[in-house]
């Protein structure tokens, strides 16, 4: 059974999902990839937007929305991976 994800893991998973899709992802794909409820995801997305880790892009012609990872988001993801590795080393 997988361990319960903490706040940091969820943020890491969201950013990684965007990065894995080439830095740009549709909200429906992100909802599927992040394994969160709609409300839960909205809360995290708002936080990440406020912290300028992601930006929302709207295509009026195609009537579609995308989330894009920013430089700050990429830096956070890099630090997160290091911290995760450190945590796993000690089993914390």
């Amino acid at each position: 059974m997988s361990e319960r994800r903490d706040r940091l893991d969820i943020i890491g998973d969201i950013l990684k999902a965007i990065q894995d899709k080439g830095g740009k992802i549709k909200p429906t794909h992100l909802l599927y990839k992040s394994n969160l409820s709609h409300e839960g995801m909205k809360r995290y997305i708002d936080e990440l937007k406020t912290k300028l880790m992601i930006i929302e892009e709207e295509d009026l012609k195609k009537k579609s929305r995308h989330f894009m990872i920013t430089e700050r988001g990429l830096n956070f993801l890099q630090d997160y991976k290091k911290i995760r590795e450190f945590t796993d080393s000690f089993g914390l």
Partner: protein, 219 residues
Amino acid sequence: MVILENWAASLIGPSWFYGIDTIFQIMFVIITLLIYSLSVKAFKFSLDKKFKNLGLSFFFISLAFLILALSNLALYSGFYDGTVRGINFANLFYLAHVFFMLIGYSVLLLVSLKIKSKRVALLMFSFMLLFIAFAFQYYLKFHLVSLMMLVFIAYNFWENYLRKHSINSGLVFVTFYFLTIAELFFLCSVWMPTLYVMAQLMQMVGFLSILVMYKKVLK
């Protein structure tokens, strides 16, 4: 040197090793401080208390080695002979080393076993303080208690390695495995001083393993 060999509890090894062990201890200070700094970075990043406590444990271990290294350095260099106005400062410093080392191991044990109860932590620290307050033959008792705690810590990291199967978790286990073995050698060095050298070497292998882990995490 004859005086040194007799009264300072920390000076248990062969006299030709005096000074070399201090270099080792200074290296242990640096390595444990690096792990402390990484823990602080992780705490600032995540605001998770477990990193603060992990950092605290390595800080105490670092402080313990620093006190021992400076105390021994003062003795080896002839700065003083251990006593000032009738007070045996060398043994007081050794007691401080024991205190901070045991506090460090205790915090590490609480963190690695994920014990969050403040009462359990308080009970553990109370036992530790009682041990310090009423202990004689510091050297033997200190290494015996350290051995017991390190067995638990190492076993916990072994279980973590079995779960994660990563090189870094293996390196953390190797660190505490060698630190545990070192305690056995420290205990036996009372009867055979050469084993003190082996104990220091085991500690060095242990701390170098955690240094490799540190480098791998930051690469």
